[in-house]
């Protein structure tokens, strides 16, 4: 296509110059510096001392590092798995039932409502929930008290046994709207005659959901799963505002672990090793997902 009009061959590279210069300065150079620093001992001032793989061997023996990844595993369930599955059912109910038996307006009101937690700044949702779950003056414990269930009241974010589960609950609330919006827009591609044919065959709602809905929106399914999983791996803001990794590291996550080493402990080399490992995991995961998606698309075609 580009070769057809001779006027459009060559000479476009100049348009890339600002983008390349800025990307090198803001992304490439810092990335290389972090990877290099991960092989050194450095407190942020003075000279970096090359120590080879020492930071990495220390990392693999550090129980805090492993537990931070264990927490991420649970957060993937809360941020990717549960919202995707719940969102799938809700999107199908809204698109295929509410929109048809009532009307489209109801469906889009629900969609917007469920999406609202996603548009509020992460730090602010942290404040909202930090307050609601506060042990002394928080709304949840006060409500439990009012309805005579004060026995159920907990120090939701301050008790190592409950803190991570409380954060998981908050994250489900936060994430649910994204899959609903994605899946509902995916469903608009589905040929209505497919549903009509299924109706004629006497298929139940559940059968249509399993055989048509899920099958047709596989592309969105993959996109949602990969983006929410990566978001879980990167989680920082909510943890910072809700728990700062505590109590006693029960909600520590890799990004906050790296932040602490960078800016609180001045162990920049170690922090760099943590973020390098996190980066490698995210990129590998993304490319595995992309391959799976490509294969699924080929199989579907």
């Amino acid at each position: 296509m580009a070769g057809k009009g001779t006027s459009r061959t060559g000479g476009y590279a100049v348009y890339l110059i600002p983008g390349v210069i800025l990307s090198v300065a803001i992304i490439v150079v810092p990335l290389i510096m972090t990877v290099y620093t991960s092989f050194t001992k450095w407190n942020g001032v003075g000279d970096q001392k090359w120590i080879g793989f020492d930071n990495y061997t220390r990392l693999f023996e550090d129980t805090l590092f492993w537990s931070s990844f264990g927490h991420i595993f649970l957060l993937i369930i809360a941020m990717a798995v549960v919202p995707t599955l719940l969102g799938l059912v809700l999107a199908a109910v809204l698109f295929d039932y509410i929109a048809k038996t009532f009307n489209n307006r109801w469906a889009s009101v629900f969609r917007s409502g469920f999406y609202i937690p996603q548009v509020i700044p992460v730090a602010v949702t942290g404040i909202v929930w930090g307050w609601i779950l506060h042990p002394d003056y928080g709304a949840l414990n006060k409500i439990l008290d009012t309805i005579g269930l004060s026995g159920l009241a907990q120090n939701w974010l301050g008790d190592p046994n409950y803190a991570l589960y409380s954060v998981m609950g908050v994250m489900i609330w936060f994430q649910l709207g994204y899959p609903i919006v994605m899946f509902m827009s995916g469903l608009q591609r589905v040929d209505p005659s497919l549903y009509e044919a299924a109706d004629l065959d006497g298929a139940s709602w559940w059968q249509r959901f399993r055989k048509i809905t899920i099958y047709m929106i596989r592309p969105e399914f993959y996109v949602v799963l990969v983006t929410t999983t990566i978001a879980a791996l990167k989680i920082f803001g909510q943890i910072f505002v809700l728990t700062r990794g505590g109590p006693s590291n029960s909600t520590l996550v890799p990004s906050y672990f790296a932040y602490k080493n960078f800016f609180e402990k001045a162990q920049v080399g170690y922090g760099s090793a943590i973020s390098t490992v996190l980066t490698v995991i995210i990129i590998v995961l993304a490319f595995v997902f992309l391959r799976l998606q490509n294969r699924a698309e080929k199989a579907g075609a």
Partner: protein
């Protein structure tokens, strides 16, 4: 759960189906179940809103669920003045707006070269922008922090503006290139027949035609930058430079933050976001879809 029980028989014509649905009492059960779920989702925000305008004494006496006896604005006003919230709003607005404008411009230039110009090695550039999109900010933060101190941009809004312009335009380039790859060749040919050079073709043909996508990018960049927390937390340390999320986030756990002050602070953090949501709602829904197609 009630959903699974809904069996729909399929009469031959459309009209009886609708009539049957109208008679079906289950449909209201499902609607009410969804409304309850929606109410639960929005309950935290509603609780914040009613307690933000409640006096501390009212809260102590009647708890978080009572409707305030009278509207008490002092909590919000005092908090606003204490943190100089107007300044934070301006910092957030200025940063987000400049990032959105510059980010869209940079995405246009990159995507023009990659999508329409198809420069050599375009695949590798695209892989680079894809990877740049995936990078966690933790892997960039320390060198950026170190370098910004060297060049005197630490604790300046411009450090955040430059960094986010590049980070956001990585996504923008990726998305916009896929749009420009399928740009109608006839329009480009017509422009070159008219004697327009590449620069004029870009601004008088390509940009106007792709305005809807550019609108989506602008909206996204603005809201994403507004909501950013990690890098602003690291870079904007002095009070006068903080953005809204940073100013609110670092106050958590402060002993001056009681129940009603905390809800007041949360409410003034929520309101601008809700305002953008209402303004940009249509673009947002369109945009989330566009992101899926990439």
């Amino acid at each position: 759960m009630t959903v699974t029980a809904v069996e729909k028989q399929a009469p031959a014509s459309d009209e009886p189906v609708k009539a049957a649905k109208r008679r079906n009492p289950l449909r209201f059960a499902i609607l009410i179940a969804l409304l309850v779920l929606l109410l639960l989702m929005l309950a935290p925000l509603l609780v914040v809103a009613i307690n933000a305008v409640k006096s501390p004494a009212d809260y102590a006496g009647n708890g978080p669920l009572s409707i305030p006896g009278h509207l008490y604005w002092d909590g919000i006003v005092n908090f606003w003045n204490r943190v100089n919230f107007g300044q934070k709003l301006w910092n957030s607005f200025f940063t987000s707006l400049v990032v959105a404008v510059l980010g869209v411009l940079l995405s246009i230039l990159n995507a023009y070269a990659l999508g329409i110009g198809r420069v050599k090695g375009r695949i590798w550039f695209l892989v680079f922008f894809l990877v740049a999109n995936l990078l966690p900010q933790e892997v960039l933060v320390y060198p950026l922090y170190y370098l910004s101190k060297q060049v005197g941009l630490y604790d300046s809004l411009w450090s955040i503006i430059i960094i986010f312009t590049v980070i956001q335009s990585a996504f923008g380039t990726y998305l916009l290139t896929s749009v420009y790859t399928e740009f109608p060749t006839e329009l480009l040919d017509a422009a070159s027949v008219d004697g327009a050079g590449k620069w004029r073709t870009l601004w008088s043909v390509v940009v106007p035609v792709s305005r809807p996508t550019l609108g989506v990018l602008f909206t996204f960049f603005f809201i994403w930058t507004w909501n950013e927390f990690f890098l602003p937390l690291v870079f904007l340390v002095s009070n006068d430079n903080q953005t809204v999320p940073v100013a609110l986030g670092v106050l958590q756990g402060d002993r001056l933050m009681d129940a009603t002050t905390t809800s007041a602070s949360a409410l003034i953090g929520i309101l601008p976001a809700m305002l953008f949501f209402v303004i940009f709602q249509r673009t947002l829904t369109r945009g989330i879809t566009a992101g899926a197609i990439k």
